[in-house]
């Protein structure tokens, strides 16, 4: 009887350890806490060029992550990219004339959307659209412009 008890105890401790390890893996190694869809509102933004922006990319204001990209689609009529983002409803006082730009974290890092506050008294709400947007900077275009400038500089 004593032996059965210790075996059961061993099996129980083992399972607890395993569950603890699973808990550790799911909470400590993955950081992006999913927003509660109930406590977030979604906003659209249209960009001419989104570069390499991906779903789940962060949306940051003043460098603080306040939301996430949930959907990227292409509007075939307007020939624009339509990016749907959700913003935590804690942050419900973002002026509706704020502008969104696609920025790059670090020199070669992943891209994210940066919001710059506007001055309007009307706030963004579920379903509204960010009107002022700035496309991603495409490195090739930048280099192209730079080379053209170099060329014209030589003529003078």
């Amino acid at each position: 009887m004593q032996q059965t008890r210790s075996v059961e105890l061993g099996a129980g401790l083992f399972a607890l350890l395993g569950i603890g390890a699973l808990f550790f893996l799911t909470t400590q190694t993955t950081g992006r806490d999913d927003f509660d869809e109930d406590r977030a509102y979604s906003v659209e933004a249209r960009f001419e060029n989104i570069g390499s922006l991906k779903k789940r990319a962060p949306v940051a204001m003043s460098g603080v992550t306040i939301g996430r990209v949930v959907d990227i689609e292409f509007d075939a009529r307007a020939l624009e990219a339509v990016v749907t983002i959700v913003i935590d409803s804690k942050f419900d006082q973002i002026p509706d004339d704020s502008d969104a730009s696609i920025l790059t974290a670090g020199l070669l890092g992943s891209q994210y959307i940066g919001l710059q506050a506007g001055g309007s008294d009307i706030y963004l709400e579920d379903g509204s659209e960010i009107l002022f947007t700035q496309s991603a900077v495409v490195l090739e275009n930048l280099i192209g412009k730079f080379l053209v400038n170099m060329g014209s500089g030589d003529d003078e």
Binding site: T4, V7, F14
Partner: protein, 254 residues
């Protein structure tokens, strides 16, 4: 020559078919064993899981440590030592933990299962049970199978967790990578799907490794040599099956 190949192929196909029938038999008895003989399963979780903890934890620490060393070396080329956490976490959680744990499990618990059941058969214990109207598959085989199936995901999770601590030990304590950078970059890059990929793999590998071990034991030739051969085949077959399945699951999930 051709004839040998032909015989080998037929023999392989026959064993494969026998394994499938045996597997169905295991599944058929699983619910009954889970509900009526759960103490037997607990004992086997202890045997397959708790007793494998030492080898899993020691291996995990060193595998994680090696990933830390190699990561420092190779990421140092790009001055990206901070990313060693991402490197170790991806390698461990998605690939190394499930595969290495399954191989260690085959060596530690699979061989024990195969030889135990094989020896029971060789010493006519299984036949004696049948004489007493006790179904040996239900009494002996299924609890061992379920014990392994339950233990494996836990073992894999423990391997990953301990491995990450090993990588932390090497990268942060030994090489002075910033502790915040190590964990934060990992957290920013890893997603729940990546962790789940490891969990799915561990479940599949648990089923494969345990069922192969009990199958080999149950179908061992009841002699000393036969039991030895069954033990060897358990390790070989599990290793091959796990590595092939790993490729297939990864291809399907990516």
């Amino acid at each position: 020559m051709l004839r040998d190949i032909y015989t080998a192929f037929v023999e392989f196909a026959r064993t494969f078919g026998a394994f499938q029938l045996f597997f169905l038999r295991l599944l058929r008895h699983t619910p009954a064993v889970l509900f009526t003989r759960f103490p037997l399963v607990i004992k086997q979780v202890y045997n397959a899981g708790a007793l494998s903890l030492v080898i899993i934890m020691v291996s995990g620490t060193f595998v994680g440590g090696v990933l830390g060393l190699q990561g420092m070396d190779i990421l140092g080329l790009f001055a990206a030592e901070d990313a060693v956490g991402i490197f170790a976490a991806f390698a461990l959680i998605k690939e190394l933990s499930p595969v290495v744990t399954a191989l260690l499990f085959a060596g530690r618990a699979g061989t024990a299962l195969a030889s135990e059941i094989g020896l029971m058969k060789a010493t006519d214990q299984l036949a004696a049970m049948e004489m007493m109207a006790v179904n040996p598959v239900k009494r002996v085989v299924v609890p061992r199978f379920l014990g392994g199936v339950i233990a494996m995901p836990f073992l894999v999770a423990i391997f990953s967790a301990v491995g990450l601590l090993g990588a932390h030990l090497v990268a942060v304590s030994l090489f002075g990578v910033d502790v915040g950078a190590f964990w934060q970059q990992m957290q920013q890059t890893l997603e729940m799907d990546d962790v789940m990929e490891g969990v799915y793999k561990s479940i599949v590998f648990g089923i494969v490794a345990s069922s192969l071990a009990v199958f080999e034991g149950y179908n061992a030739i009841p002699t000393a040599e036969g039991v030895g051969r069954a033990t060897t085949r358990t390790v070989v077959l599990t290793a091959i099956a796990v590595l092939i399945l790993d490729f297939m699951i990864t291809a399907a999930l990516i």
